[in-house]
């Protein structure tokens, strides 16, 4: 069984992002980039399924500039067998990405698509759902456990107040939540092996997908700095302040 793992290049989660002076976005020049953490979890899940003998081939795919090859190499160092770069200089939005992925799904015919529930840059949480809708596949989002059983997959989902388990018929789309697994590290031998794995490039234009943005960013602002708190002497004072000053009760 083949698994497709779409991944995204984003600002490394340890970087303190800064808003550009003109408020058009965040500063990306000379900023460390990395694979989106939820995508790492997706790759890890695919690799574990392969180690269990459920999966035979893992194909990583990304939509982005040439630089995103770095993240595909990382995915292959973590265990993906080959990868595809859908090259575009456009800042692709979820719908365009889902459409491009649909084209790849049609070509590759994977039984499972495992991808992050969201990317830490836009926090959209849309791509997986849109891909499922466009392809007509079932979807198990926010997965904290994945069990493949014959032509079905059981996905335990993290929902408000607990867990929900859904059963999907393959092929299906799964989006990963934080607690699905703990991704491994790329070891030196695997980094070396990844260099020899195939990395194909497809031009986004060739897929016939309209990458024109559907939404426009008006303004990006840094969150307001938190002002220092105060100490209250008694519960009475606290209640009084919540009532009269904060006016929340």
């Amino acid at each position: 069984m083949k698994v497709l793992v779409p991944i995204k290049r984003v600002v490394d989660y340890n970087v303190k992002v800064r808003v550009k002076a003109d408020n058009s976005g965040v500063e990306l020049a000379n900023v460390k980039m990395a694979m989106n953490p939820f995508c790492e979890i997706a790759v890890e899940e695919a690799v574990r399924l392969k180690e269990k003998g459920v999966v035979t081939e893992i194909v990583a795919v990304t939509i982005g500039s040439k630089a995103a090859q770095e993240q595909l190499r990382t995915a292959m160092a973590l265990g993906a067998d080959r990868s595809i770069l859908i090259e575009t200089e456009e800042d692709a939005q979820p719908l365009a990405i889902a459409k491009a992925l649909k084209a790849i799904v049609e070509k590759e015919q994977p039984q499972l698509v495992i991808l992050g529930k969201q990317a830490i840059d836009g926090d959209n949480s849309q791509t997986g759902q849109m891909l499922a809708a466009l392809t007509g596949m079932g979807q198990g989002t926010f997965a904290s456990e994945v069990v493949v059983d014959g032509d079905k997959v059981k996905v335990t989902r993290e929902v408000d107040g607990g867990f929900q388990t859904v059963e999907l018929k393959l092929p299906a789309v799964i989006t990963t939540d934080l607690r699905l697994n703990e991704p491994r590290y790329a070891s030196l031998p695997n980094i070396m092996k990844a260099k020899k794995k195939p990395l194909d490039t497809v031009s986004a234009a060739d897929l016939g997908v309209d990458f024109a943005p559907r939404t426009k960013t008006l303004k990006v602002e840094a969150p307001a700095a938190r002002s220092a708190g105060i100490k209250v002497a008694s519960v009475e004072e606290l209640v009084s302040k919540l009532k009269n000053e904060a006016k929340v009760i």
Partner: protein, 381 residues
């Protein structure tokens, strides 16, 4: 990273990212606790092995990932980002204890010992220094006398990194005449009769590392545990020192690097007299000098490493690089604490730990003075 392009390719970069993730996820969240506790979980050796870090620099047939000096440097540099020299020294005891076994041990010894250490199941260390002296290696006193197919070892060692927790000890012993021509290396194993380990020594720095005294009383060691030729140990020890000294250069440079980064962050936040520290010219110039010294030291270290990678004899150069790097890190850590003011003296501040951990770097692996002796000798003096 632009300054280091000549030495590091994109594979080095991927390894760097991977080791950095390991440090961010598996070490940094706990490091303050481990430092205060004076120890870190033994399990970390296993985790480092699973992450593929421990095998770097060792032959593939024993579970390693091949020799590449700059891969080793990358791993060491990123591990130093744990901000704990002690943790790096503890993990690093393997890299001074194991290479003699790999290079000069018998096939049986290698096959039995090396894979277990590289898999993180066992810990290796190196024991040269004795209570009577560490600099004068040629005159060490721990004696090993042949008795049939065993050696009987008597004597003691001290200041041994990983001395408490190790399983395998690469020990320098006297098997022959006085002087360097009578020294051998013997692999002594935890649990061998007559071998005991003293308490964990308390230190200025390197708190997360277990440093210990070792005692041998009629300790029986199979003769097959001999590493290299009998009475040929001095050469092995001196060869082994080259790699250790290079790693000490890397540790010193990274100590300076992290101290500098901490300062650069702090001076942009901290204010005095209504201005940020970064706006005082004395502070700016101090930082400029720290950065300049570090840059020169790092480039020197990389150059020596490149020569070593090319198989050149660098006994003189690596000794110079170590003295240069530790002189720079002495100065940089001193200045970093100064820039932090009172906070720089407080536990929990990174520069405070760097300042303490730095002190050993000009002592271990050959003191500053011994390095100068080596350099002078190489100059024909």
């Amino acid at each position: 990273m632009s300054t280091t392009l000549d030495y590091f390719n994109d594979t080095h970069q991927m390894l760097r990212d991977s080791v950095r993730r390991f440090v961010e996820r598996d070490i940094l969240p706990h490091i303050d606790d481990w430092e205060e506790a004076g120890s870190f979980p033994r399990e970390l050796y296993k985790k480092a092995a699973e992450a593929g870090i421990s095998g770097i620099g060792y032959p593939e047939q024993y579970g390693g990932s091949g020799e590449d000096v700059f891969m080793k440097i990358v791993a060491s540099e990123e591990l130093m980002r744990s901000t704990s020299g002690g943790l790096v020294a503890s993990l690093g005891s393997v890299d001074i204890g194991l290479p003699p076994v790999v290079k000069w041990g018998s096939e049986e010894l290698k096959a039995r010992v090396v894979p277990q250490v590289l898999s993180g199941d066992k810990i290796a260390c190196l024991a040269i220094t004795e209570p009577g002296g560490g600099s004068d290696v040629a005159n060490l006193r721990t004696r090993a006398v042949k008795d049939g197919d065993h050696y009987i070892v008597n004597g003691s060692k001290t200041f041994i990194t990983s001395g408490v927790r190790a399983d395998y000890y690469t020990v320098a012993v006297r098997t022959g005449e006085p002087g360097f021509g009578g020294v051998s290396l013997l692999l002594i194993e935890k649990g061998m009769p007559g071998f005991t380990v003293g308490r964990t020594l308390k230190k200025t720095g390197w708190w997360a590392s277990d440093t210990a005294e070792l005692f041998f009383e009629d300790c029986r060691v199979p003769a097959t545990n001999l590493i290299g030729p009998e009475n040929g140990g001095f050469f092995c020890i001196m060869t082994n020192f080259q790699a250790e000294r290079l790693m000490l250069c890397v540790m010193a440079n990274m100590t300076s690097q992290i101290a500098l980064e901490e300062c650069l962050r702090y001076v942009k936040e901290r204010e005095a007299f209504g201005r940020r520290l970064a706006q005082f010219q004395v502070t700016r110039h101090k930082l400029a000098e720290m950065a300049t010294q570090l840059e020169a030291s790092r480039e020197f270290t990389y150059r020596v490493a490149a020569k070593m990678a090319a198989g050149q004899n660098c006994i003189k150069e690596v000794s110079m690089a170590k003295n240069f790097a530790t002189t720079v890190s002495d100065r940089v850590t001193y200045d970093a604490v100064q820039i932090f003011g009172g906070s720089g003296f407080m536990r929990g501040t990174v520069v405070e730990r760097l300042y303490r951990d730095n002190r050993i770097l000009a002592i271990g692996g050959g003191t500053y003075e011994i390095m100068n002796e080596v350099i002078a000798k190489q100059m024909g003096l």
